[in-house]
Symmetry: C2
Subunit: 275 residues, 2 copies
């Protein structure tokens, strides 16, 4: 059951904001979406946002709606974590807690109860789209932490997600400071348990996407060398025979200016895969 | 002299944020801009934003850059008022003071010294673009309060501005609550002095634009009937023979979702007028 907060006429469709109760997080979860004005909407693109974002960033800044208007493909953009929980320190850091779920099923401490974001995306959000919007096919993409989410959840659920793409994804979090902090905090000290939340490790362990994976990465991205580690993923894909179209772009950074520049290619890619 | 704060590679060009000193406002003024990657940039579109906005809203939300990339036309988006002045109550109201200059030359009280926004746009910003970017032709557009600014400054300076357009403009501020509050506060009680800051009155007094004026207006806009008064402008244009292409759009509201839906038409219009 969706609680709609706001609907805006946008191109030949509507940009909407709403929330619904999640059985996985046991909280009301916020999302934004774009509904094309088309009676035969059967495909859905799920976009996972990066650190500090809410459901609002991508829907206002990326310029996606222009390219979905009139198609049979809707867009849904979940929030990056549960909100307003009474967890000590949940808002202290920009890269852990609220706005920074890393899309895993937390098992540790106070996060274990509600931070079941992997289940939320793969079960509750999918169920919502099937029930409320009669969606048949799904594809998954995201940015930075959300690129990590798209790749890991997508690789582990290739029967659900037709195609995967990412902007500036964190592809090897077990080796990056952001990733290590999050995985330790949500999953505990045992690094064996981190491996199924690491896209590069999943490829090494023979997880696959049906289609070639599309990745866009700016070469002026300040996080590339320390946090994103793009080349580790490319190497693993090569070694294991996963097709991956990684495009490096001179001078582009980690921002939504970068995303909006290449967003049309991602929409075209997913729509053609879901056709 | 421009102080650049940030530059982002964006499409085949750069979205930039900067500031410069204004001789009219006697303050540093913020702006954003988009520079296409084209050695022959000679045209400039100036966009004036609405109440509560800064130079950031339009440049992140409207999706303009896609349509200027590669052209000979840059975009510059000034802030909506001087900032950080020690004026009593300047931040008390969303519709007066900071973020709400109405693009007039204030004569009253503490606003008289710095709130010379009409001069800032028509003199300082134009001079900046000529000197720093070698611009030859200018066109002007805006949203809401900025639509009011675009129409009034454009009509009064048709030797400077080639073409004019607006989204959801306040076209008859002497009759709207927002306008009356602002004009009284900045220009004083004498309503005769308000007339040259009212687009409908300017048309009645034979001010003109060289080209047809393009206006887009949502019919679901909550401010249409009380604040915007679009039909008064249309009537005046008809009576006085000013060409005006006003397009009303069912269900669209006052937001950037509306603006981004029709932005391409405005860019195409101005570029063809400046050709």
């Amino acid at each position: 059951m969706i609680k709609w907060k706001k609907k805006y006429k946008h191109f030949n469709g509507e940009t909407r904001f709403g929330s619904h109760y999640s059985k996985s997080t046991l909280t009301e979860m916020n999302f934004s979406c774009y509904m094309p004005n088309n009676e035969k909407v059967v495909n859905c693109l799920i976009y996972l946002s990066g650190l500090t974002c809410t459901e609002e960033n991508v829907i206002t800044k990326a310029g996606i709606q222009r390219f979905l208007s009139g198609t049979n493909t809707m867009l849904i953009c979940p929030d990056t974590s549960p909100r307003n929980l009474n967890i000590l320190g949940v808002n202290d850091d920009y890269d852990f807690g609220e706005g920074a779920s890393f899309y895993v099923n937390a098992t540790e401490n106070e996060y274990a109860k509600n931070y079941k974001m992997e289940d939320y995306i793969v079960k509750d959000l999918i169920e919502l789209c099937k029930k409320e919007f009669n969606i048949i096919k799904f594809s998954l993409f995201g940015h930075s932490m959300g690129g990590h989410g798209a790749l890991t959840l997508g690789l582990k659920n290739k029967c659900i997600f037709t195609s995967l793409s990412a902007f500036s994804p964190i592809v090897n979090p077990i080796l990056s400071p952001w990733g290590q902090k999050a995985l330790r905090g949500y999953l505990g000290e045992d690094k064996e348990r981190w491996l199924t939340s690491d896209a590069t490790e999943l490829i090494k362990n023979n997880y696959r996407s049906n289609h070639s994976i599309l990745i866009d990465q700016g070469l002026g991205d300040e996080f590339l060398d320390e946090q994103l580690l793009t080349n580790n993923f490319i190497e693993a894909c090569k070694e294991k025979g996963q097709r991956c179209n990684t495009r490096f772009h001179k001078n582009f950074d980690h921002s939504y200016y970068f995303i909006s520049t290449f967003i049309k290619d991602h929409i075209d890619f997913h729509i053609s895969c879901m056709e």
